[in-house]
């Protein structure tokens, strides 16, 4: 237990975490998944050994990564050479290497924000999506990689995210993957980001319940109490009804739900009404997250339609949050900076941005509460509220 706590508190906040690099592949036919090591004494058959230019790589390893530019005819196992930089890889990280020389980080041992992306397909097409969906069928190829990855993940991993696209589109592979995670990582909290529509079919909710794994939490977004508004925001007909029915079926099967509300120009007008709807119809949700916009992906494309300066919706946010707080809900505010929020909401503000996308502005260096502030998505520091300011002794 102590070891687990230690790992969970490590990590630190790294800026612009690098998750991909590329070299030239040799001897690679199919994508290889392995655990990074720099220690030749500690190699297993699942290891990807990082070697310097003139070292000998040994043959026990699954693959080698070589920083130098030379082809190594002495190595007959798979390797990638001419990789510009491998310094971002830590011993214990899990990576995939494909025949084109792509080196993707799948799991970072020193992070609390590891996620498995099950597919880039989605049956919603949200106006403010941070990772716009793609149509290519990637489900089986990604599943094959995850099947190899999951057994390699350290057993003391605290939390693992499951995301997409819409992960439930993997269908039976979705359930198979969860079964595998439960078997390999029974102590790990699993957080699934889904639109919940699949669970409008009772069988799917029952299937999830059959896993009997109470470490699963489903994070499901709801953007309005009025179906037409929600359906418009997610650009999908019947999405609201299916999402709400899905949550209802999940709750009937004792599944744990986190509700997610993205704060944008379209969700603000009925925000308090949404809170009331949640309390009356979805009182079983375990956690509610109110989330500031992440200014990437579709948000940039639909900027005029979705952007609203957080300073302009504080009253609505405060009403909506306090309403639910009075009724005892567990509430968090994500992605909004303390300098924007009224102090009545500070206790809900959470440092939630994954370390690899998290940054602060230069003026934040002077702020007295920076330590407690979630900061910004590093992806877009320029499109921020006009009211960002360091909090100092002169602040109210």
């Amino acid at each position: 237990m102590i070891a687990k706590l230690k790992r969970c508190s490590e990590g630190g906040r790294l800026i612009n975490m690098k998750l991909h690099t590329k070299g030239i592949a040799a001897n690679i036919a199919e994508t290889i998944v392995g655990r990074v090591t720099r220690d030749s004494e500690n190699c297993e058959n699942s290891s990807v050994f990082i070697i310097g230019n003139n070292e000998y790589g040994g043959q026990n390893n699954k693959a080698h990564l070589i920083q130098g530019n030379n082809v190594r005819r002495d190595i007959t196992s798979p390797y990638v050479y001419a990789v510009p930089d491998l310094s971002h890889l830590q011993g214990g990280d899990i990576i995939s290497i494909d025949r084109k020389g792509n080196i993707n980080t799948l799991y970072r041992v020193n992070s609390n924000f590891n996620t498995l992306l099950l597919t880039e397909r989605c049956n919603n097409n949200c106006l403010m999506c941070s990772q716009p969906p793609k149509t290519r069928n990637d489900i089986e190829s990604i599943f094959r990689i995850h099947k190899e990855l999951i057994p390699l993940i350290p057993k003391d991993c605290c939390e693992l995210g499951i995301t997409g696209g819409e992960p439930t589109l993997s269908g039976k592979l979705f359930f198979e993957l969860l079964r595998l995670i439960k078997f390999e990582l029974p102590e790990t909290e699993i957080h699934i980001l889904t639109n919940g529509r699949a669970f409008a079919w009772k069988e799917n909710a029952e299937r999830l319940a059959e896993l009997k794994h109470n470490r699963i939490m489903l994070g499901i977004p709801l953007y309005s109490d009025y179906y037409a508004d929600h359906d418009y925001i997610v650009q999908a007909k019947n999405a609201f009804d299916q999402t709400v029915l899905g949550m209802h079926n999940l709750a009937n099967n004792n599944q744990r739900i986190e509700l997610r509300v993205v704060l944008n120009k379209l969700t603000i007008p009925r925000l308090l009404k949404l809170s009331k709807f949640i309390y009356k119809n979805l009182p079983f949700v375990e956690h509610i997250a109110f989330m500031g916009l992440e200014n990437v992906g579709m948000t940039l494309r639909n900027w005029k339609e979705v952007w609203i300066d957080p300073a302009d919706y504080l009253k609505e946010l405060e009403e909506a949050v306090i309403f639910l707080d009075v009724f005892g809900f567990n509430i968090s505010i994500y992605n909004l900076q303390l300098c924007l929020l009224p102090t009545s909401l500070w206790k809900f503000a959470t440092k939630s941005i994954s370390d690899w996308k998290n940054s602060y502005l230069p003026e934040c260096e002077r702020c007295l509460v920076k330590e407690h502030c979630g900061g910004f998505f590093s992806s877009n520091l320029s499109n921020q509220s006009k009211f960002i300011r360091p909090i100092d002794f002169n602040s109210e």
């Binding site: 009025y226 037409a228 029915l245 009404k273 119809n281 009724f327 005892g328």
Partner: protein
């Protein structure tokens, strides 16, 4: 407007008409249209996709019915050392043992209580003054505790007492068996002693002393007080609230004058009394609001029950405001003489000579005969607001309750007639008043939400 599950919307007048004539459009009335859809008032399909969600909510609201009778009242003795104005029940003579419940009846009552399908029953002792029969109660509590444990039931014990016979032995027994104490406090000394007559005219002093002693030994959360409004009390709404506050209570139940003690089928008098009571209620309520707006927490329990019905999606189990009614479904009374009644009020009627709500006799009848017998069926014809004229179409139906016993007592038949019913006038006005307060002042609305949430 209020929907089937008690959600409300305050809408412009003529909205109902516009709904019925289909004059609303999602384009021209966007916000109202959206409000009506999302709150399940209208649907743009014959059967909305979320009908199952609404069904779950309806089941939830009615789930107080799920486990059947919880509250079992044992009238352990009719003897009493008080002769309260409004009480028609007690026998003043403390020595008349024949007004005690026999051991045989007690055993049969306990047996019947254990038959209840409810996994959590409450055994409440009333009188007279129940503590005058303490040895019997001791026996009953110890026996029931063992039986409940064997049956894997939870059991809560309540002593309804004026606290005058309280002694150290009783206190340590209460502590050991986690007994809740429910006592009567009618207001400041002059009001209390006027209402609650006793030799020596010191009921107030004895009660306050008893309350403090119970708090000390059992803890404040184990002691509650109820007030009964008499015509005399009506003149002192503010004083009564302040008395409760000063005695350390942070809640009060403003109970209307019971029609049973003052048996009267005189409807004009009822009407007059209800108007007087509402005036009293509102004055007292304003004092309570002031405490809260000054930063204190002080709750009026009747309002809290109604507010829970208005503001939360959860069931509220209060026997006087349920539909189907609390009688039999949630409460039953075993009288000292072995007779079984549908509610506390039913046995008071019996003491006045009207045994309409007598369900049977512990000596003669089985559980089935008592709980599912002809009498129960007769009462059941009139215990659902959903099937009573004047209630079935009432906007406040989701917040109110059926009370066939009261209708029988005041109007002579269980079905009743709403326009002249004091019960109806009182509830309609209190509910309306609470809405008015919330609608006019968002601070009060938030305060009410906090009451309902607790």
């Amino acid at each position: 407007m209020v929907n089937e599950v008690g959600d409300y919307l305050i809408v412009p007048t003529e909205t109902a008409k516009r709904i019925i004539t289909k004059a609303l459009s999602p384009e021209n009335d966007k916000e109202l249209y959206a409000d009506l859809i999302s709150n399940f008032f209208i649907s743009d399909k014959p059967i909305p996709n979320l009908i199952d969600v609404l069904a779950t909510r309806y089941r939830t609201k009615k789930s107080f019915l799920d486990h059947f009778t919880a509250l079992h009242i044992f009238v352990i003795t009719l003897r009493c050392d008080h002769s309260c104005q409004y009480c028609q029940v007690s026998r003043v003579n403390k020595d008349q043992i024949r007004f005690d419940m026999s051991k045989e009846h007690l055993d049969l009552g306990i047996q019947m209580m254990m038959r209840s399908p409810n996994p959590h029953v409450t055994m409440e002792f009333q009188g007279g003054e129940c503590l005058l029969a303490f040895p019997m109660m001791k026996y009953a509590v110890e026996k029931s505790e063992v039986l409940a444990q064997n049956l894997n039931k939870k059991i809560t014990f309540v002593f309804c007492t004026n606290l005058s016979p309280l002694n150290e032995e009783i206190l340590s027994f209460c502590k050991e068996h986690d007994v809740l104490i429910s006592t009567s406090l009618d207001g400041p000394e002059h009001v209390h002693n006027f209402n609650r007559r006793k030799d020596g005219n010191n009921s107030y002093e004895v009660t306050i002393k008893g309350i403090n002693r119970c708090r000390e030994i059992l803890g404040s959360d184990k002691v509650s007080a109820l007030m009964t409004t008499s015509p005399y009390s009506l003149k002192y709404p503010v004083e009564i609230i302040e008395e409760y506050y000063n005695q350390g209570f942070r809640n009060i139940f403003l109970r209307a004058i019971s029609p049973y003690g003052y048996a009267s089928k005189n409807q004009l008098k009822d009407r007059f009394e209800v108007e007087e009571f509402l005036k009293f209620y509102k004055t007292a309520f304003e004092r309570i609001l002031k405490y809260n707006l000054d930063g204190e927490y002080f709750v009026e329990d009747y309002a809290k029950i109604i507010l829970k019905k208005i503001l939360t999606p959860f069931p509220v189990n209060f026997v006087d405001l349920n539909s189907p009614a609390g009688v039999i479904n949630n409460v039953v009374v075993f009288n000292y003489d072995g007779k079984v009644y549908a509610s506390d009020e039913s046995r008071m009627l019996a003491e006045m000579g009207d045994t309409t709500f007598q369900l049977g006799d512990l000596n003669k009848n089985s559980y089935e005969e008592i709980f599912y017998g002809d009498k129960a069926i007769e009462i059941a014809q009139n215990w659902s607001l959903e099937s009573l004229a004047g209630c079935s179409e009432c906007a406040f139906q989701a917040y109110c309750g059926a009370d066939p016993v009261r209708y029988h007592a005041t109007q002579g038949d269980m079905y009743g007639y709403r326009p002249s019913s004091a019960h109806c006038i009182k509830n309609m006005e209190i509910i309306r008043y609470l809405f008015e307060l919330m609608d006019n002042d968002s601070e009060i609305e938030e305060m009410f939400r906090r009451w309902a949430a607790n």
